[in-house]
C-alpha cells in the first residue's frame, strides 16, 4: 500500500480522506477561522476599552464621577447586524454540507452491519448469497474509493461509531438501526473509537477501518469467507481446549465453537490488535491477554482463563493457526 | 407623621389589607406556581406516552380500545366534584356555613368515590405495571394522578376540619380557595389523562 495514509494524529479530523468527511472538514475550518476572528475582535475591544478609557482608582469611599446613560445602542445594533450575517452564512453552509454528505455519491459497494458491544465492535459483511456473509471484529476492511453503507446497532448499551478521518459519529443504539456511510479515497488504516460513554472500558474500544486497493480487499474477503483449517500437530490439543473453554463465547467457523458473546475468532491472525485496540496481536500479547484479560482491560467481559502454563501455550499455538 | 403627610404618589392613599387575603395573598400565587410546575410534570408524562406509542407503532398497546365502562362515569364523578367544590367556596365567600361545609364534604365524598372506582379500574386491567411499557406508563400516569387526588383529598379534609372549627370568615378563607383551585387542577389533569388513554387510541383508529 504505497500511498497509504499514516497521519501524525490518528484521531484528528482536521484532515480527512473521504467524501463523507471532507465537506464537513471545510465547514469546521471555516467556523474555526470565524470563531477565532470573533474572539480576537471582542478581546481587543474589551482590553482596549478598559485600557484607553481607564479611570485611575480613587480612594475608597470617595465619590467617583458618574456618566449619563445616553448612547451606546448603536453598538448593539451594529454588533447584531454583523452577528446575523455570520449566522446566516454559517446556517447556509451547514445546510449545504448536510445535503452534500446526506447520501453516498454512488451506489454503495458494500453493506456492513456494525454492532457495538461492551467493549468491542462486531462487523458483519452482508453478502449477495447466504454463504457470502461473514463476521469479524474491530478491524473493518473496505475497498478504496467505494462508498460503504453501514447499518449500526447496539448489542447492550449505547455506543457511538466514529472514524474521524472518514465520517462523524453515529450512535449504535440497542433496538434501533442507524444508517451511516463512508468512503476512503486513500489506502491506509484509519483509527476510530467509541465516543458514547458505555461503561468501565469505554476507553478501550477502538475500531480500525483498513482501506485496501480493490484487489487486496477481494483477497481479504475471500480469506474471511474460508472456514478455519483443521488443527494439526501441537495445535490440535489447543483446538480441543478452545472448544471446551472458549467456545461458549467465541465462534471459530469450522469447529464446534459457536458462541456469540465475544468476537468471532475464525481469522484472528488477520487482525493487528486484540481486545479492540488494547493489545498488539503478537504471541506474547495474545498469551498475556488470554492469561488474564482483567489485568489489561479491567472490567472486560472475558474472565481470567485459569489455564496452566502448557495449556496456555497450546491454546496460543492453536490461535496462531487462525490466519 | 401619619398618612396625612404622605405626599408620594406611590404611597397608598387608603387602608391596605393586612396579611393574606383572597387572590392578593402570596399563598394563592405560590399555588399557581405549583400548578404550573405540576402541569409540566403531566405534560412530560403524556409526552412519554405519545413518544413511545409513536416509536413502537401499532400493536404497542395490549388494549387498542380501553373500555370506558368504569372510566367514563368516573370522569363525570370527578367533574361533578369540581362543581361541588366551587359551590362550597361560594358558600365560604358568602358566609353560608352550610353550603361552605356541605360543598367541601360533598367534594371529598365524590373524590373518594373516584378513587375507589379507579382502584376497581386498575383491578379490571388484565395486566400489571411490569407487563410492558404501555402497562408501565398506564399505571405510572394514572398512579401519579391518583396520588394527586389523595393529596387533594387530604388538603380538603384538613380545610374542612379547620372550616368546621371556625377558622375562616367571609373575608379570610384563603386556604379554602387555595385547596379548591388545586382540586380543579387535579380534575383538569384527569381530563388530559383520560383523553390520552381512553380517547386518543379511538381517534388514531
Amino acid at each position: 500500500m504505497g500511498s497509504a495514509v499514516s497521519p501524525a494524529w490518528p484521531m484528528s479530523y482536521l484532515t480527512t480522506f473521504g467524501p463523507r468527511a471532507d465537506p464537513v472538514t471545510g465547514l469546521t475550518w471555516g467556523l474555526i477561522v470565524l470563531s477565532l476572528a470573533v474572539i480576537l475582535i471582542v478581546t481587543i475591544l474589551v482590553v482596549a476599552g478598559a485600557a484607553v478609557r481607564r479611570l485611575r482608582a480613587a480612594s475608597a469611599g470617595e465619590a467617583l464621577p458618574v456618566g449619563g446613560s445616553a448612547g451606546g445602542w448603536s453598538w448593539i445594533w451594529i454588533g447584531l447586524a454583523l452577528t446575523l450575517i455570520a449566522l446566516v452564512a454559517a446556517l447556509a453552509w451547514t445546510i449545504a454540507v448536510m445535503a452534500a454528505v446526506g447520501s453516498p455519491p454512488a451506489r454503495p459497494a458494500l453493506t456492513l452491519e456494525i454492532t457495538g458491544h461492551q467493549w468491542w465492535w462486531e462487523a458483519r459483511y452482508l453478502g449477495a448469497a447466504p454463504g457470502q456473509t461473514f463476521v469479524t471484529a474491530n478491524e473493518i476492511h473496505i475497498p478504496v474509493g467505494r462508498p460503504i453503507l453501514i447499518r449500526l446497532t447496539g448489542a447492550d448499551v449505547i455506543h457511538s461509531f466514529w472514524i474521524p478521518a472518514l465520517a462523524g459519529k453515529t450512535d449504535t443504539i440497542p433496538g434501533r438501526t442507524n444508517l451511516t456511510w463512508l468512503q476512503a479515497d486513500h489506502a491506509g488504516t484509519y483509527r476510530g473509537q467509541c465516543t458514547e460513554y458505555c461503561g468501565l472500558q469505554h476507553a478501550h474500544m477502538a475500531a480500525f477501518v483498513v482501506a485496501d486497493p480493490p484487489a487486496d480487499f477481494e483477497a481479504w474477503r475471500e480469506g474471511q469467507l474460508q472456514l478455519a483449517a483443521p488443527a494439526t500437530g501441537p495445535a490440535a490439543s489447543g483446538e480441543e481446549l478452545f472448544v471446551e473453554r472458549c467456545g461458549a463465547c467465541h465462534t471459530v467457523r469450522g469447529v464446534a465453537a459457536g458462541g456469540v458473546a465475544g468476537p468471532d475468532l475464525t481469522h484472528l491472525m488477520s487482525r493487528a490488535t486484540l481486545a479492540a485496540g488494547t493489545v498488539p496481536n503478537t504471541v506474547s500479547g495474545l498469551e498475556g491477554w488470554i492469561a488474564n484479560p482483567q489485568a489489561l482491560k479491567p472490567g472486560a467481559r472475558m474472565p481470567p482463563s485459569n489455564l496452566s502454563g502448557p495449556e496456555l501455550g497450546q491454546l496460543a499455538a492453536y490461535l496462531e493457526t487462525l490466519k | 407623621m401619619v398618612d396625612a403627610s404622605c405626599d408620594h404618589a406611590a404611597w397608598p392613599a387608603g387602608a391596605l389589607p393586612v396579611g393574606a387575603r383572597g387572590r392578593d395573598s402570596v399563598g394563592w400565587w405560590g399555588m399557581l406556581c405549583l400548578i404550573a410546575t405540576e402541569s409540566c410534570l403531566f405534560a412530560y408524562l403524556l409526552f412519554s406516552y405519545f413518544y413511545i406509542a409513536i416509536q413502537r407503532g401499532p400493536g404497542w398497546s395490549p388494549e387498542p380500545h380501553p373500555p370506558m365502562t368504569l372510566a367514563g362515569p368516573n370522569t363525570l364523578i370527578l367533574l361533578s366534584s369540581s362543581v361541588a367544590a366551587w359551590w362550597g367556596e361560594d358558600g365560604a365567600r358568602r358566609g353560608r356555613r352550610g353550603r361552605h361545609l356541605g360543598g367541601l364534604a360533598l367534594t371529598i365524598v365524590l373524590g373518594a368515590v373516584f378513587l375507589v372506582v379507579q382502584v376497581f379500574e386498575w383491578k379490571a386491567k388484565g395486566f400489571g405495571p411490569s407487563a410492558g411499557s404501555y402497562a408501565s406508563l398506564y399505571f405510572t400516569i394514572t398512579g401519579f394522578h391518583m396520588a394527586h387526588v389523595i393529596v387533594g383529598l387530604a388538603l380538603l379534609s384538613v380545610v374542612l376540619i379547620w372550616s368546621a372549627v371556625g377558622y375562616f370568615t367571609p373575608r379570610r378563607y384563603e386556604p379554602v380557595s387555595i385547596s379548591i383551585v388545586y382540586w380543579h387542577f387535579v380534575d383538569a389533569i384527569w381530563l388530559a389523562v383520560f383523553s390520552t388513554f381512553y380517547l386518543s387510541p379511538r381517534l388514531m383508529g
Binding site: V42, R53, L55, W75 | T37, L41, S133
Partner: protein, 653 residues
C-alpha cells in the same frame, strides 16, 4: 412614631410612614426581626440573608469537592496509560464532578447570591415565602449529603451526570449507585422547585413601591427567568429519574430496549438539561450586567434589550434540546431545524456582549478585581459562545460531539459564565455581606492566577478535541498526539485550582482583618447599598420608594425630576411585616405578615431525607417514618392564623 407592640390586630389599616433619623430606627425593628438565640434559633432562622449565606458557603464546599475530583482526574490523564485510578473509580469521579458542579454548585451558588440580594435589591424585608426559602436550603443540603453519602461508601453515581439508559438500567448497572443518584436528584428537584416558586412570587409581589419591572436590576431578571424555566423544566428530569427508579426497582419497562424506548431518556433529560444550562448562567450574566457598569461609572448600555434578551435566551433555550442528540440518527430535517434554532440563540447573547463592551467604552472603567472578573467574563463568554456555534452546526457536531472540544466548550460556558461572574460578584458584594472589604492586592493575584490557569488548562482542550480525544475515557494510549497537550491541561488546571485557593485565603483573611466597608464602598447605584453593611435583619427601616433604576445616582445622573425616597417611607412595624405590591407597576396593595422563625422547614427536610433514604435502602419502615414526619411538619407549617377569624365582623372599606 412607631406602633405600640401587640396592639389589637386590624383587618386592614392605613400604614404609618416614618423618617429615618439618628434615633430611628430604634431597637424595636431589631427586636421584631432578630432570630432567637441558640440552636433552635439557628435551625429555625428564615432570614433570607442567612439562608443566602448558607447557600453560598454550601455551594462553595461542593465547588471545592468537585474541584478536588477534577484534580485527581487530571493526575490520571496527565500522561498516557497511567494507572492511578481504576476505571470504576474514574467513572464515579467524573460523574460526581459533573453532578457536583452542575447540580450542587452552579445553580445553588446563584440561588445563594439571589437569596441574599433579592429583597435588598427590590426594597423588601424578606422573600415572599421565608419558610419555603429555608426549606429550599435544607432540602438542597440533604440532597447533596445524600448523593455524597453514596460516593463516600463507594456507591456513588457512575453513569455520568447525563446518566443515559440502557447503561444506567439495572441490567448493566446493578449496584445501588444509580438509585442514589436518581433519588438524590429528585430530592434536589424539590429544593429547586420551591426555591424557584419563591423567586417568582417574590419578584411579582414584594418589589418596593415604584419599582416597576423596567427598574429592577438585571440580576433579578436573570434569576426570575431561570426560576420560571426551572418550574417548567425540572419536572422533566425529576420524572425521568423517577421512571428510571421504577424500572430499576419494580421492573417497569419505560426505558428498556425490548419493550420501552431508551431514547426517551435522552429527550426528557435534555428537555430539562438545556434550559438548565441557561438557568445556571443567566443570573450570573445578570451579575455582570449590574456589577460591570458600577465600575464603568455609568449605567448599563441598553437595559431594555439586555433584559429582553435574558428572557429570549430562555424561551429559545426550550427549543434546542435535540442539539445534544445530533448523533442519535435523527432525520436531516430535524437536524436542520435544531441547528438553526441553536444558532439563533447567539442573537440574544450577542446583545449582552455588545451591551457590556459598549458600557466599557462609553464609561470610565475603574480597574478593580471585581471589574477584572466581570470584564474577562465577556471574553470567556465569547469563547464559549463561538464554540457553541460550532457544535450547533449538526455536521460539525458529528465530529466534535463527545470529544474534548465539548469538554472545553462546557467549561468555558460554566466557568466563564458562572464561576468568573460569581467571583466578581463575591468581590463586589462581600463588603455588603460581611461589612469588610476583600483585599484588592491579593485579589489581583487571585484573578490573574485563575485567568491564566483557566485558559492554560482549558483552551488546549479544544485542540485535544480537534485531535480526536474522546470524553469520559479513564486513560488513553500514546501515539495519538495527545500526550503533551494533556500534560499542559493538567498543569493549567492545577494553576487554576491555586487561584481558587488564593480566593479562599483572601476570604479567610478579610473576614478577620478586612478593611471596614461602610454602606456603599463602590459608590454603587442600587438599593442594597443604601443600607448598612452587613444589613440589619429587617433590611430597610422604612420601605423605600423607587423612582428610577439607579436610586443612589439620581442626583448625579439628573435624568428625571422624580427622586427615590430612601429615608422616608412606610414603617410597617407591628410584627414582621413588609409591603405587598402589584405585579407590574409595584403599587402597594397589601401588608404582608411575614412568618416567625420556624423549625418546620428543617423538620420537613429531615422527613424528606428519611423518606428518600428509606427508598434507596428499600427500608420501607424508614420511608414510612419519613413520610409521617413530612405530614406532621406540613400540618404544623400551614396551621392557619386564628386571629384572622377572631376579628369582629366589619364591613370592608
Amino acid at each position: 412614631m412607631s406602633a405600640a407592640p401587640n396592639s389589637a390586630w386590624e383587618d386592614a389599616r392605613i400604614p404609618r410612614t416614618a423618617r429615618v433619623t439618628p434615633d430611628f430606627p430604634g431597637p424595636r425593628l431589631e427586636e421584631i426581626w432578630a432570630r432567637a438565640p441558640g440552636l433552635k434559633g439557628w435551625i429555625g432562622d428564615v432570614d433570607h440573608k442567612e439562608i443566602g449565606k448558607r447557600y453560598i458557603v454550601t455551594a462553595f464546599v461542593f465547588l471545592l469537592l468537585g474541584g478536588i475530583e477534577a484534580m485527581v482526574m487530571r493526575l490520571q490523564l496527565a500522561g498516557p496509560d497511567r494507572r492511578l485510578l481504576s476505571p470504576e473509580a474514574y467513572d464515579q469521579l467524573f460523574t460526581m464532578h459533573g453532578v457536583s458542579m452542575i447540580f450542587l454548585y452552579a445553580a445553588p451558588i446563584l440561588s445563594g447570591f439571589s437569596n441574599f440580594l433579592w429583597p435588598l435589591l427590590l426594597g423588601s424585608r424578606d422573600m415572599a415565602f421565608p419558610r419555603l426559602n429555608a426549606l429550599s436550603y435544607w432540602v438542597y443540603l440533604a440532597a447533596g449529603v445524600f448523593i455524597y453519602a453514596g460516593f463516600v461508601v463507594g456507591r456513588g453515581p457512575d453513569a455520568g451526570w447525563f446518566n443515559y439508559v440502557p447503561y444506567a438500567s439495572r441490567t448493566f448497572n446493578p449496584g445501588v449507585n444509580i438509585d442514589v443518584y436518581a433519588l438524590g436528584l429528585i430530592l434536589l428537584g424539590i429544593s429547586t422547585t420551591v426555591g424557584s416558586a419563591n423567586f417568582v412570587v417574590t419578584f411579582l409581589r414584594t418589589r418596593a413601591p415604584g419599582m416597576s419591572i423596567d427598574r429592577v436590576p438585571i440580576l433579578t431578571w436573570g434569576t426570575l427567568t431561570a426560576s420560571v424555566a426551572n418550574l417548567l423544566a425540572v419536572p422533566a428530569v425529576s420524572l425521568a429519574f423517577f421512571l428510571l427508579w421504577l424500572d430499576r426497582q419494580f421492573g417497569l419497562h419505560v426505558f428498556d430496549t425490548a419493550q420501552g424506548q431508551p431514547l426517551l431518556w435522552q429527550h426528557l433529560f435534555w428537555m430539562f438539561g438545556h434550559p438548565w444550562v441557561y438557568a445556571i448562567v443567566l443570573p450570573a450574566m445578570g451579575m455582570v450586567s449590574d456589577g460591570l457598569p458600577v465600575f464603568c461609572r455609568r449605567p448599563l448600555v441598553g437595559y431594555t434589550p439586555v433584559a429582553l434578551s435574558t428572557v429570549a435566551t430562555m424561551a429559545l433555550g426550550f427549543g434546542v434540546w435535540v442539539h445534544h442528540m445530533f448523533a442519535t440518527g435523527l432525520p436531516d430535517i430535524s437536524l436542520s431545524f435544531f441547528s438553526g434554532a441553536s444558532l439563533i440563540i447567539t442573537i440574544p447573547s450577542a446583545v449582552a456582549v455588545f451591551a457590556w463592551t459598549a458600557t466599557i467604552w462609553l464609561g470610565r472603567p475603574v480597574i478593580t478585581t471585581a471589574f477584572l472578573f466581570f470584564a474577562s467574563m465577556i471574553v470567556l463568554f465569547v469563547i464559549g459562545g463561538v464554540s457553541g456555534v460550532m457544535t450547533a452546526s449538526a455536521p460539525v457536531d458529528w465530529q466534535l460531539t463527545d470529544t474534548y472540544f465539548v469538554v472545553a466548550h462546557i467549561h468555558y460556558v460554566l466557568i466563564g459564565i458562572n464561576v468568573f461572574p460569581v467571583l466578581g460578584g463575591a468581590y463586589y458584594w462581600f463588603p455588603k455581606i460581611t461589612g469588610r472589604m476583600l483585599s484588592e492586592r491579593l485579589g489581583r493575584w487571585n484573578f490573574w492566577t485563575m485567568f491564566i490557569g483557566f485558559n492554560l488548562g482549558f483552551f488546549p482542550m479544544h485542540l485535544l478535541g480537534l485531535m480526536g480525544m474522546p470524553r469520559r475515557i479513564y486513560t488513553y494510549p500514546s501515539g495519538m498526539g495527545w500526550d503533551t497537550t494533556n500534560l499542559i491541561v493538567s498543569l493549567g488546571s492545577g494553576l487554576f485550582a491555586l487561584g481558587v485557593l488564593l480566593f479562599l485565603i483572601n476570604v479567610a483573611v478579610s473576614l478577620r482583618r478586612g478593611e471596614a466597608a461602610g454602606d456603599n464602598p463602590w459608590d454603587a447605584p442600587t438599593l442594597e447599598w443604601s443600607v448598612a453593611s452587613p444589613p440589619p435583619p429587617y433590611n430597610f427601616a422604612v420601605i423605600p420608594t423607587v423612582a428610577s433604576r439607579h436610586p443612589l445616582w439620581e442626583d448625579r445622573l439628573r435624568e428625571t425630576e422624580a427622586r427615590s425616597r430612601l429615608d422616608e417611607g412606610l414603617l410597617l412595624a407591628r410584627g414582621r411585616e413588609t409591603l405587598g405590591t402589584s405585579a407590574l407597576d409595584a403599587e402597594p396593595n397589601l401588608i404582608l405578615e411575614m412568618p416567625a422563625d420556624s423549625v418546620a422547614p428543617a423538620l420537613l427536610a429531615l422527613g424528606l431525607a428519611a423518606l428518600f433514604a428509606g427508598a434507596v435502602l428499600t427500608a420501607w419502615w424508614l420511608a414510612g417514618a419519613g413520610g409521617a414526619i413530612c405530614a406532621g411538619a406540613l400540618i404544623f407549617w400551614f396551621w392557619p392564623n386564628r386571629r384572622h377569624a377572631d376579628l369582629p365582623e366589619v364591613a370592608d372599606g
